[in-house]
């Protein structure tokens, strides 16, 4: 599903060059739920941004569904992102002056669905996250947990095969965090591949597999070696 081989990402200022990812190799299979942990500044978010094609790697190869996406132009990457990837953020990132219905509508608009299809999908995901009655509410009228459920609904509306979650429970209390985690597990059971960055070891353990990133490299050596061997085979 997702395959990164020797990915490098560096940021350069006038005087300093920072290596966020170095020879980063990783493979995530279809239907997996992978948690990504690591200390602050280790490169977790950079990995997630490259995986979501929000940033381009400085070097290396990134295959999504077998296609090399490293050299696609902005329009091609945007279309792939819209069709295959759903994002969930720590800060929810709902658009504050759009109600829930219109927030979930955003990715569907870029997908080019007609209004009937958009409405069908929006009503379906709102029902799945238990917020059908709040469709016309603004994000500010909801609790943090409810906002994160809306964000999940928005990510799911396009029926992506790949969900990227960046500390999705980081801003929630333990009860809401558990509810969101259960929702993600439920989504994964439907077949959606999930990669979740988290600081919480308990949540990380609930994933099928945990990847540790340290200093821009995967510390799950066994899988990394296996991935590298598979790539060279």
């Amino acid at each position: 599903m997702l395959k990164m081989h020797n990915i490098r990402k560096s940021y350069r200022t006038d005087t300093i060059e920072t290596h966020a990812l170095r020879d980063f190799s990783l493979e995530v299979n279809e239907g997996e739920f992978v948690s990504v942990t690591g200390p602050s500044g280790s490169g977790k978010t950079t990995f997630l941004n490259i995986a979501g094609m929000l940033e381009t790697p400085t070097g290396g190869e990134y295959l999504l569904d077998g296609d090399n996406v490293s050299h696609l132009n902005d329009r091609q990457r945007s279309r792939l992102r819209n069709e295959k990837i759903g994002f969930i953020f720590q800060g929810f990132n709902l658009i504050p002056d759009l109600n829930l219905f219109d927030n979930i509508d955003v990715p569907l608009r870029y997908r080019g669905f007609n209004s009937k299809e958009r409405r069908r999908r929006i009503e379906k995901v709102l029902e799945q996250v238990g917020l059908s009655a709040r469709a016309k509410h603004l994000p500010s009228q909801l609790s943090g947990g409810q906002q994160q459920r809306v964000a999940i609904a928005r990510a799911l509306a396009g029926e992506p095969r790949f969900l990227l979650a960046d500390e999705p429970t980081g801003n929630l209390d333990s009860l809401m965090a558990r509810q969101v985690m259960e929702l993600l597990e439920f989504i994964n059971e439907w077949g959606t591949t999930i990669v979740m960055v988290t600081h919480d070891p308990d949540l990380a353990r609930r994933a099928h597999r945990n990847i540790q990133i340290v200093d821009g490299q995967v510390s799950d050596l066994q899988r990394a070696v296996a991935a590298a061997e598979a790539a060279t085979a």
Binding site: L54, R75, S78, R79, F87, R109
Partner: protein, 439 residues
């Protein structure tokens, strides 16, 4: 997606009412000021005879001082003719139509004792004036043919004058007194007010059209002098009294001809050449042989109806609009960059850079539409103020037609798009990942 972007733009404008109002105001003030000046220039440079531009010609003859060229026109020829030249040219049968004319005025009175006598602007002209300039008649028509050369006391009234004197009835055959002399009404023209008054740009190009039209053959009987500009170079008229004025070298007659084919034009050129040569033999026209037949569109330029000052003012108004656009750029940049996090979210959800750019350009276009509508209102206020300050003489040009209103909206949209392109480009180029983590 266009409708979606428009709805997002309106939502965004309503979300930041103060900033939006400032942006609309910046565009509106720039458009209002520039459209006020541009409307004046546009209306002043209108050619009311555009439909006959290929067949009408103003006639100029260089009968000026042998020692010094005429200095008040760019082609160094007087823009009016002497009376004797005008009457000589009238004898030509080459033009399909022709008219000699000048400005005059009468005291008008009628049998209606309740109507106080009033001063009426008049045009002394020949009978083909009306057909030459497509003047529409409400009642009757032009005067008899012999009235151009002999004293026939007939008059054509304007619609307003007919309403004043006869309540708008068909007054053909009725009589009015001009300077105490009886004149028979032979025609009443419909509403007609060319602006600029192209047939006589030398005497108030934006004055109202005349109230009375009087036959040319009455000069000697009433010793009619021009109420308009008269220019001369000779030290005195060539003779005593009024006859000396008529035969003198002062120029005060405007002269127009209609030449409907290249052949007519060529024949008329030959005629004028022959006429000047003949006059030279009589001791007149001592300058090099020179005449001009000028089309209405060129006549407006030659007479500098739109002066250099007007043109400079037009450029200054556009410069002011540019200043307003620069202000709008700064305001839009502030607004769009403040909403960069939202653009980041949209990018994460599948919007391309181009989609984000188009969304913001359309928002700036919406600002332009609102700015244009407000700009039209400001321009109308500006033109109204000019009408008040000008005591009415510029009423006809200080008005906005539909074309200029559309131009105002177009200018506003263009200005706002120009103002929006850079901010929209900036926000579309921002790295979305910067905002997704920090929101």
């Amino acid at each position: 997606m266009f409708g979606y972007y428009v709805s997002l733009a309106i939502r965004s404008l309503r979300g930041t009412p103060v900033l939006s109002a400032l942006m609309v105001a910046a565009i509106a003030v720039g458009v209002g000021a520039s459209m006020t000046v541009l409307t004046l220039n546009y209306m002043m440079s209108q050619n009311p005879l555009a439909h006959k531009d290929s067949v009408l010609y103003a006639v100029q003859l260089d009968s000026w001082d042998p020692n010094e060229a005429y200095q008040r026109s760019s082609n160094e020829m007087p823009v009016q003719l002497t009376y004797r030249d005008a009457t000589a040219l009238l004898r030509s049968d080459i033009p399909a139509r022709q008219a000699a004319m000048h400005r005059y005025g009468f005291t008008v009175s009628s049998d209606d004792f309740e109507l106080r006598p009033f001063s009426g602007e008049a045009r002394i002209t020949t009978r083909q004036f009306f057909a030459l300039f497509d003047v529409p008649f409400l009642y009757g028509g032009t005067w008899d043919a012999d009235a151009d050369s002999s004293p026939v006391q007939q008059v054509v009234l304007s619609k307003a004058t007919n309403e004043k004197l006869f309540g708008g009835e068909n007054s053909v055959g009725r009589s009015i007194d001009l300077n105490g002399e009886p004149f028979t009404v032979v025609g009443v023209i419909d509403k007609w007010n060319p602006s600029p008054k192209i047939y006589d740009l030398n005497n108030g190009p934006f004055n109202e059209a005349e109230e009375l039209y009087i036959p040319f053959g009455l000069h000697r009987k009433f010793e009619i002098y021009s109420w308009g500009n008269t220019n001369g170079w000779a030290s005195g008229d060539s003779g005593e009294g009024y006859e000396g004025h008529l035969q003198g070298e002062s120029v005060w007659i405007q002269y127009w001809v209609e030449l409907q084919s290249a052949e007519q034009l060529e024949n008329y050129r030959d005629f004028l050449t022959g006429y000047i040569r003949e006059q030279k033999q009589q001791g007149r026209f001592q300058r090099p042989l020179k005449f001009a037949l000028t089309r209405p569109s060129e006549w407006l330029v030659l007479n500098e109806v739109l002066s250099d000052d007007n043109r400079v003012l037009g450029w200054l108004s556009l410069a002011f609009l540019l200043v307003c656009v620069v202000n709008a750029v700064a305001l839009m940049l502030a607004k769009f960059l403040r909403k960069a996090p939202e653009a980041g979210v949209r990018r994460a959800l599948g919007a391309s850079r181009q989609a984000v750019f188009v969304q913001h350009v359309i928002e700036s276009g919406c600002i332009g539409v609102f700015g244009g509508l407000c700009g039209i209102l400001l321009a109308l206020v500006g033109l109204g103020t000019i009408r008040q300050l000008s005591f009415g003489y510029i009423d006809q040009v200080a008005t906005m037609d539909w074309l200029m209103m559309l131009a105002a909206v177009g200018l506003a949209i263009l200005a706002s798009l120009l103002a929006g392109i850079y901010p929209a480009w900036r926000v579309s180029r921002t790295n979305p990942s910067l905002y997704l983590k920090t929101q």
